[in-house]
């Protein structure tokens, strides 16, 4: 959508919180996917007043593009400070696109246990799915040129903003 402004991440965050608030309970486990998803989850977590600590997932060891692209440079340790077994889980990512990151996250999640339910929250859904995956909570649906990558950034003041970049080949 050339000429159109990029979605406002801060506005979408507020909308996402309102969408999620009635749908989560105090025992719901929130899991941010590195790196953008963790930033979003860090903002959602206090706003939703969850009793469980915030969890983070780095899916680098579960990605299906490892053969083609190698290991990501800055792999973080996944930190899940609560039991997955039997819990209501919401995965959080910044942009939902092909669905491959979410597939990797689900695989990793199930290595920790069998959750009661897993839902997905994302600031932006840009379409282009290559797997049967959908977000239950989503800020906005946008059309982005397939050759571009929509990336979340976090400023020194903690504010989130989207930028458009060339997709890595």
């Amino acid at each position: 959508m050339p000429g159109n402004p990029l979605p406002d991440a801060e506005q979408l965050l507020t909308a996402l919180i309102e969408q999620m608030r009635p749908a989560v309970g105090p025992a719901t486990g929130l899991i941010g996917i590195h790196t953008g998803g963790v930033w979003v989850a860090e903002r959602l977590h206090p706003a939703l007043k969850l009793q469980t600590a915030l969890a983070t997932l780095d899916v680098s060891y579960y990605r299906d593009d490892y053969e083609a692209r190698g290991l990501h440079r800055d792999v973080k340790r996944s930190e899940i400070p609560f039991e997955i077994e039997g819990r209501d889980i919401v995965l959080v990512d910044d942009v939902l696109f092909t669905g491959r990151t979410i597939r990797a996250a689900l695989n990793e999640l199930f290595d920790y246990g069998r959750p009661a339910r897993v839902r997905l929250a994302t600031l932006v859904d840009r379409g282009g799915r290559e797997l049967p995956i959908a977000a239950q909570f989503s800020g906005v649906r946008v059309e982005i040129d397939a050759g571009k990558s929509l990336d979340l950034t976090r400023g020194a003041d903690g504010r989130l903003a989207f930028v458009l970049a060339e997709r890595a080949a």
Binding site: D58, Y62, Y66, G70, R73, R77, S78, E108, Y112
Partner: protein, 317 residues
């Protein structure tokens, strides 16, 4: 040739393809390995699917229990299939038989070789002859290099000391025969450690060791004064040719690490040893089991380091 001509460990993009020595390996790659290893330490899930379907061959021409086992655990935690081969080499026709061995293993569709060999340079030789999609990791060659040991030592030191830029470190004992000492010295220099000391009798130091950028001491208390990190080397009886030492007792008296000698170092200095230890020869039990010893954490971190090296290499084309 598709490998980087200036450094045969790297591919044309400058990424790690083989791990043969820490000498000449860019700081960026050392940091990448150390950072990646951190993601494997203390995780609840022990096994990740990254190397599923890949075959890692542990090819050991020289006996080793700990190193081989930690490589095996590392590969299995990455879901690779592991094949252990203990190969004994006949003293004659080494070059030919080594190549034959490698050709045969390659024909079994290996993706990665982990090689331990008594001769310096053997893993380099193998790396030059394998197919371009096979990765080689040096698990110790002669007196030359033991890069994953050097890396796990760096990981351990970083874990306890956070930063290399103000560290004073000492490497003590049989430097002459030690591939661990060489690997450490190269890594310390690359990571910006300002003061590297070696402490040993003249007979156990390589000629012109100062050219590696180290300060040489022959007296333990002088050498250990105010250091942050002490690495004790194993006295390698099996590599000794001729009488380099009067006796193990004599060595212990002057160079064995006791609580008394360790008192010269900083009070929070840590003590490393690559294992296996000769208690009562290069290190006293009270130090080996004492509160400054990080010898067992070294073993644990060694698995994470080997997982990191394999994950990074196997993804580089």
């Amino acid at each position: 040739m598709w490998l980087n001509p200036s450094n045969p460990q790297l591919n044309k993009k400058g990424e790690l393809h083989h791990l043969l020595t820490l000498e000449g390996l860019p700081a960026e790659i050392l940091w990448q390995i150390l950072d990646t290893a951190k993601s494997f330490v203390g995780t609840k899930v022990k096994k990740v699917p990254l190397l599923r379907g890949k075959s890692v061959f542990n090819v050991f021409f020289e006996p080793s229990t700990r190193t081989r086992t930690t490589f095996e655990i590392a590969a299995k935690r990455l879901s690779a299939d592991v094949i252990n081969l203990n190969v004994t080499v006949s003293s004659q026709s080494k070059g030919e038989s080594l190549l034959d061995t490698v050709d045969n293993l390659s024909a079994m569709h290996a993706d990665m070789f982990v090689v331990r060999h008594g001769e310096s340079g053997a893993p380099h030789f193998i790396a030059r002859h394998v197919a371009p999609d096979i990765h080689v990791i040096n698990a110790g060659d002669g007196r030359h290099s033991h890069p994953t040991q050097g890396l796990l030592d760096m990981y351990t030191i970083r874990h306890y000391k956070k930063d290399f830029s103000s560290l004073r470190v000492a490497i003590v004992g049989d430097v002459l025969h030690s591939r661990v000492a060489r690997s450490q010295i190269h890594a310390f220099a690359t990571l910006g450690c300002p003061e590297i000391r070696v402490i040993a009798p003249k007979t156990l130091l390589p000629a012109q060791v100062e050219q590696l950028g180290v300060h040489v001491f022959h007296d333990m208390r002088q050498g250990l004064k105010d250091v942050d990190v002490v690495t004790m080397l194993r006295l390698q009886n099996e590599r000794m040719q001729g009488a380099l030492l009067p006796s193990a007792q004599e060595f212990y008296k002057y160079y064995g690490l006791t609580e008394d000698k360790l008192a010269a170092a900083k009070p929070d200095a840590i003590v490393l040893h690559p294992g296996p230890m000769n208690r009562g020869v290069e290190i006293d039990s009270s130090v080996a089991d004492g509160k400054q010893s990080v010898i067992l954490p070294q073993v644990t971190f060694g698995i994470a380091i080997r997982m990191a090296v394999m994950s990074i290499m196997a993804g580089n084309k």
